[in-house]
Amino acid sequence: MQHGKYRFIVGFLALPLLIYAIFVISPFVQAFQISTTEWSGLRGAAKNIGLGNYDKLLHSDEFWNALRHNIVMLVLVPIATLALGLFFAFMLNVGGRARRGALITGVRGASFYKFVYFFPQVISITIISVIWFNIYNPDPHDGMLNSLLGAVGLDSLQSSWLGARSIALACIMVVMVWANVGFYVVLFSAAMASIPREIYEASLLDGANRLHTFFRITLPLLWDTVQTGWVYMGIIAMDAFALVQIMSVNMGGPDGATDVVPLRLYQTAFRDSQFGYAAAMGVAMLVVTLLFAVLTMRFARRERIEF
């Protein structure tokens, strides 16, 4: 019996573990090693330069420019996405008018809204990028957004969007928010559904309005989910690769205004063949991501409320 058990365990774990070790664990370890070399990718031609790549990284304006954009995204995109997600989820679950004797109701058609909002989650980032590329088309007559603004008499708001240095990054962030709000609406709705209705009803009877209800009841009870959602969204904000690559002017332009670390890494490795330097960027990304996750967990910690 014991013998059979261990043979079974080994038999079931061997293949998954092997594939995982070859394609995930070993690259993870090698990334650190490659980052200490100067390497154009030729077999056996890597030159060890210690921390030289990291030194170069710390003094590279290009890298800091890209990292600064990622950090701006890391701060703004989760705030906007989670705020909208919470607002819509609250409206869908608690926002309806009292009807049929129930004090607390969702709005009509809640599941339809969720169906639509969640849509961008299931389609590929390539398609999202192409769609928004057309929305942001700078031509005042051809561009979807520009022609819409023109049609309603807001010509003054027309812009070259991704071509304008000052707002190009904001345009990219809007797409990230647009694509991810639905995920959080569904996530927070599920979490809100598990909050007992009696709590809401009690607060309503005590005269609390919906603003109070939201900040005093819903938000504290959802805090754990919000925190997880924040980390998820931060990781997405560290990426932005496909959006910038496909949509932005000259990949990361105009004039570096939308450049992000993943795009820098990709270009450095697969266009310039500086694999050691690019690997150092990868390690830097790991550090930033972990730092972000730890800080979030540290500062967002509240006393857990059981219900």
């Binding site: 995982y20 394609f23 664990i25 129930a102 969720k114 909002y117 007559h141 309005n209 990709y266 790991l286």
Partner: protein, 309 residues
């Protein structure tokens, strides 16, 4: 969700009390405030639905327009149905070939992920042996590695792999997709198998079934709801995978849909065959839309499952 709210049709007494005497001042105030808020919040809900829904519908109707019309009058409906966009996309733009490639790769990798992921998850959830925890955390740690950090070494692991060509091959992409889906799949299936009762498996063992037979004929059928959720999750994630094929699959004959469409989009700028591109995007979306329409609930539950844990 709606069933949830309808189920709570209690407290009619409380509702009645609210509208009568005593606190009337506060109630009326609350009432108008609610009314204004309702209009505002409902308006917001509708605006957001349009903002999300319109661009997606736009792809659909643009796929029937001529390229010139897509650009010059982006909001107009098609003058006639340009079905040739779809056939152009399928044949000339090679979307048909890419569709087949994607189907082969994702078919293989989803199957592989499900089989290997549930095998590993089952063993880690149900058997105590030295190193169990270590292996579990090794798998789970993979969820926090940035893929960008891994793709550079991964490229060389694939290039220098002894014996089997892996770069720009079906088998290479399938293996990588499986490897990168395992962390979440193992994490999910382990916690799922832990929730299943042990008694059924024990009964099967007493009846003389082997460990393997117990797994395939008793435990897997019991785990079906979990398998569906994680299967949809993996299907969507792998169908829409972008970075890995960009780096590891640079042979145009082997292009999958996401990278192929990106390639077309990157090359054409604001001129070129937009009708074909729109039709191509529709073709690329169809399987996903199909899954989403049929399994809406499971898709939403499956994709958010990780964050709810």
């Amino acid at each position: 969700m709606t069933t949830e709210t309808n189920a709570v049709e209690k407290l009619p007494a409380a509702a009645g009390r609210r509208s009568e005497g005593g606190k009337s001042a506060r109630t009326t105030h609350g009432g108008t405030e609610r009314g204004v808020l309702n209009v505002f919040s409902h308006g917001m809900l509708i605006v957001w639905a349009l903002m999300v829904g319109m661009p997606l519908l736009w792809v659909l109707w643009s796929s029937f327009k001529s390229s010139g019309d897509i650009l010059s009058t982006p909001w107009s409906l098609p003058d006639r149905l340009h079905f040739e966009n779809w056939s152009n996309a399928w044949e000339k733009a090679n979307i048909g070939k890419m569709f087949l490639n994607t189907l082969i790769v994702v078919g293989g990798s989803v199957t592989g992920t499900m089989v290997l992921g549930s095998m590993a998850g089952y063993v880690l959830a149900r058997f105590t042996f030295p190193g169990n925890r270590v292996l579990y955390y090794l798998f789970v740690a993979g969820m926090s590695f940035p893929v960008f950090m891994l793709v550079i070494p991964l490229f060389f692991v694939m290039r220098d792999f002894p014996g089997i060509p892996l770069l720009a091959t079906y088998q290479g992409l399938i293996a990588v997709y499986i490897a990168y889906s395992l962390p979440f799949t193992v994490f999910f299936m382990t916690s799922f198998f832990r929730t299943l009762p042990t008694s059924v498996a024990e009964a099967a063992m007493i009846d003389g079934a082997s460990h393997a037979r117990t797994f395939f004929q008793v435990m897997l059928p019991m785990a079906k709801p979990g398998l569906i959720s994680i299967g949809i999750f993996n299907f969507l994630g792998q169908w829409n995978q972008y970075l890995l094929p960009m780096v590891l699959n640079q042979d145009e004959d082997k292009y999958v849909l996401t990278q192929g469409l990106a390639n077309i989009a990157l090359q054409q700028g604001y001129e070129g065959d937009w009708g074909g591109l729109m039709a191509g995007m529709m073709i690329a979306m169809l399987p996903v839309l199909l899954v989403y329409f049929i399994f809406q609930r499971q898709v939403q539950a499956g994709l958010t499952a990780g964050a709810l844990k």
